[in-house]
C-alpha cells in the first residue's frame, strides 16, 4: 500500500510517500503501526483530531477499512481557495 503525507505531516515524517506492508484492517490500526515505528511518526500522529485521512483519494474516517485499498494519505485540515 502507498502511504502519502502532506504539509506538516510530510515535514515531520520527513518524506512525501512510502510503500508500507501492513495487515492493518482499518486506518486507525495503520496509524498505530506507524506510531510504533519511530519518534517522528509518533509526533506526526500525536493528535488525530488535527489530522485528516484520504483512502484511495477520497476523504475518509479513521475507522475506514483498508481491504483492497491501494493508497492512504494523511494531512492536516485543508486550506484551499
Amino acid at each position: 500500500m502507498e502511504v502519502l503525507y502532506f504539509a506538516w505531516v510530510r515535514e515531520r515524517i520527513g518524506l512525501p510517500k512510502e510503500r508500507v506492508e501492513t495487515g492493518a484492517a482499518t486506518v486507525a490500526e495503520l496509524v498505530e503501526e506507524l506510531r510504533a515505528r519511530e519518534d517522528r511518526y509518533a509526533m506526526a500522529f500525536s493528535d488525530l483530531g488535527a489530522l485528516r485521512v484520504a483512502v484511495d483519494q477520497e476523504l475518509a474516517d479513521f475507522d475506514a477499512p483498508l481491504d483492497g485499498v491501494r493508497e492512504v494519505a494523511f494531512f492536516p485540515p485543508m486550506t484551499g481557495g
Binding site: 502519502l4 502532506f6 504539509a7 506538516w8 510530510r10 484520504a54 483519494q57 477520497e58 476523504l59 494519505a73 494531512f75 492536516p76 485540515p77 485543508m78 486550506t79 484551499g80 481557495g81
Partner: protein, 151 residues
C-alpha cells in the same frame, strides 16, 4: 437546463483571469447571470516573501470535479469553471478562481459561494507562508468548517 459544462484546471502556472472571465459562458443567450470569485495572495503584515501551495495530485482534480458536480446537483447551472494553482506564489498573485453561470442571479451567487466553502475545506490544498521570521502552515479556520453547515 441539463448537465452544465464543467471545466476544472489545476496548474502551477499563472492563469489569465481576464481571458478566462471574458470567455466564460460567452455568447450564451440562456444564461442571464455570471458570478466569479478570485482568491488572491494577501500580505497583511507586509512581510510575506512567498506562499507555497502544496496539493495532492490526482485527488485534487477528483475533489474539485466532485465539488462542481455537487453544485450542479443543487442549482440549475449552465457552466462551472474552477481553476486552482499550486507551487510558489507572490503577494498579490491570483491563487484560484471559480465561475458560475445560471439563468438568474440567485443560483449563480449561491453556487459560487457554495463552491468556495467546499473548496476551502474539502479540496486537498495546503498553504505555507514564508516570511522574514520564518515559515508556517496556514491553519484551517473553525469558521471555514462551520460555513459548510450552511448548505
Amino acid at each position: 437546463m441539463g448537465a452544465p459544462r464543467i471545466r476544472i484546471v489545476v496548474q502551477q502556472a499563472p492563469f489569465d483571469f481576464g481571458a478566462e472571465a471574458d470567455r466564460f459562458a460567452a455568447g450564451r443567450t440562456d444564461l442571464g447571470a455570471v458570478v466569479t470569485f478570485t482568491g488572491v495572495v494577501r500580505d497583511a503584515d507586509g512581510d510575506l516573501q512567498r506562499m507555497e501551495i502544496e496539493h495532492y495530485p490526482g485527488m485534487t482534480e477528483k475533489a474539485l470535479e466532485a465539488i462542481a458536480q455537487e453544485a450542479a446537483t443543487r442549482w440549475s447551472l449552465g457552466e462551472v469553471l474552477v481553476i486552482h494553482r499550486h507551487g510558489p506564489l507572490q503577494a498579490g498573485e491570483r491563487i484560484m478562481m471559480v465561475a458560475t453561470a445560471a439563468r438568474h442571479r440567485k443560483a449563480a451567487f449561491e453556487a459560487a459561494d457554495f463552491l468556495m466553502d467546499y473548496l476551502k475545506s474539502r479540496a486537498p490544498f495546503w498553504k505555507k507562508e514564508h516570511g522574514a521570521d520564518g515559515a508556517g502552515w496556514v491553519a484551517a479556520r473553525d469558521e471555514d468548517e462551520a460555513a459548510l453547515r450552511r448548505w
